[in-house]
Amino acid sequence: MKLKISVLVFGFMLLVLSLAHPVGAVSSVSSDNYQIDWPNLNMGAGLPSAEGVYKLGVTTGQTAPGFYEYTDGYRIRAGFQYIHSIIPFSFSLSPVNLNFGTLSVGVLTNEQTITLTVNSGSAGGYQVKAQENDLLTSNANSTIADTTCDTGDTCDHDTDFGTWTDTSTYGFGYTMTGDDVPSGFSSGTKFRNLADAPGEDPVKVMGKTPAEGHQAGRGKIATMSARINISNIQAAGIYRNILTFIAIPTF
């Protein structure tokens, strides 16, 4: 009986100790701005420097050499020298497809949005470019052209940004709002065409560089609002194409 009580007390104490004391083997350390997957950092504090004499770059990461001696015939440096973060560069899209459903004629409300999210943690800067594979095309090979400007607006949507408030302006176009979007979109009041592959180069829809004030971090969010307006002579059909986003850090 006594033995049973002792075992129970021991078990209870062990349970209490286990719950009260967190496990010490940390597999990763993270905050909103960084994540360290291998917490065995072997590094000194601060940047070693002596005014006017020398300056060394320090990179953190795994316990591995950064810049090798050239005696082996090569040197490698992975990541940006001046960003002490190993958060991967990441890019997200939501939703994956833009489903416009049945299009109404002569209205500016056939709109769908797509959210772009970038975590630029370890990148000096970044850009997200967009391009369509072709015009919106039906099975019968009819197309919905890229939008033209409103009457009286002298813009060229291929290279410039223009207003689109007239219901008699037809076609397909988009605008951008949110973080790090080109200022030409004027907070979503100006529209553009998408570049068509392969003839036209993809155009920047989001991005910032250090010279533009880029701050490495998480959760840079922009929204693309895509709009279609068709006239009453548009051939009936299901129109589709493929929109490609290219997310690349700067060099």
């Binding site: 020398y54 300056k55 770059g57 050239y70 015939g73 090569y74 040197r75 490698i76 440096r77 992975a78 990541g79 940006f80 020298q81 001046y82 190993i86 991967p88 560069f89 990441s90 890019f91 997200s92 899209l93 939501s94 994956v96 497809n97 833009l98 489903n99 416009f100 459903g101 049945t102 299009l103 797509i114 975590n119 370890s122 990148a123 000096g124 800067g125 850009q127 919106l136 392969p198 180069d201 991005g207 560089t209 250090p210 010279a211 533009e212 279609i228 299901i238 129109y239 589709r240 194409n241 493929i242 929109l243 490609t244 986003f245 290219i246 997310a247 690349i248 850090p249 700067t250 060099f251």
Partner: protein, 321 residues
Amino acid sequence: MQKVKLHSKIQNFKFLIVIFIFSFLFLNLATKATQAQSLSLSIWPPLLEVMMQPGKSITQVYKLKNNGETDLAFTSSIVPFKPADELGNIKLENSRLPPWFSFQNANLDLSQKFLLKAGETQEVVLKIKVPEQTLEKDYHATLLFETIPGVFLGQSGMQTQAKIGSNILLTVSQSGQPLKKAEIVKFAIRNLKIRQLPIIDSFTKPQFLLRIKNTGPALFKPAGAITASGWFGQKYVLNLLPENVLVNSTRLVGCENQIDAKFLLGPYKTKVEFGLDTLETDYSAEITFFALPIKFILGIIIAVVVIWFVKAKLGVDKRLL
């Protein structure tokens, strides 16, 4: 009789529970399927800088992660690029690079399609092998992973495809110390208050414009600082960001920090000095700007004018009375 009724009620209750559980599971599963509407990718490292001798080879591990909710099919490629602007953005080119790049993975080759399940990471070992007799110069490429669009069952609309890339800056050099040459294209103050004149407001922090051109045969990073020295011996040192300046291109180089003063006054002699990859003073340029309390002076002038106007008005009113 009562027993039969009770039994019947229990049977009905059981049936309802079964229906409820079935509906709950069905709805939950169906919702999950329709909510799988996002795509998320990440890549590490974001940049790879390599200098190597002809005849040598190196390997680098890349990690591609599918952070999304659905499995994705991918393909990969190595695409040459050139600078798109002076900011560090790139323009992918249609040309091809020599076949120096390959994957060392046992089950995956470069350009081969592969499936990456939701939440999983694919590690690829990129091998770069530069043949003997290769011309000593820089080669720039992007390792690109692209999703293969699935079937789109909706009505009129667009399918999306995502590409995520990481840039590779490869310098082929026998000595490991290729010749590096630069030119300061422009060193000026961006936020001048009065056109052409190097004057800023005392309450504004000066923003420097530094454009550096690479006139040599290999890329470099400027290593140095901008130093602003004031009338009263104040000294502000702004370290240059060690950003890559590619061959035959110009780059707008920023600073790691800003002048940490809230009020500046008088002339500031400002000098930029830098070396190429090493902290030297091989390249330098100098400007002088003046910090004046323009807004403050304007405020006083406006206040004096208003007071004068009010006084004059009151004087006229008194005379009329």
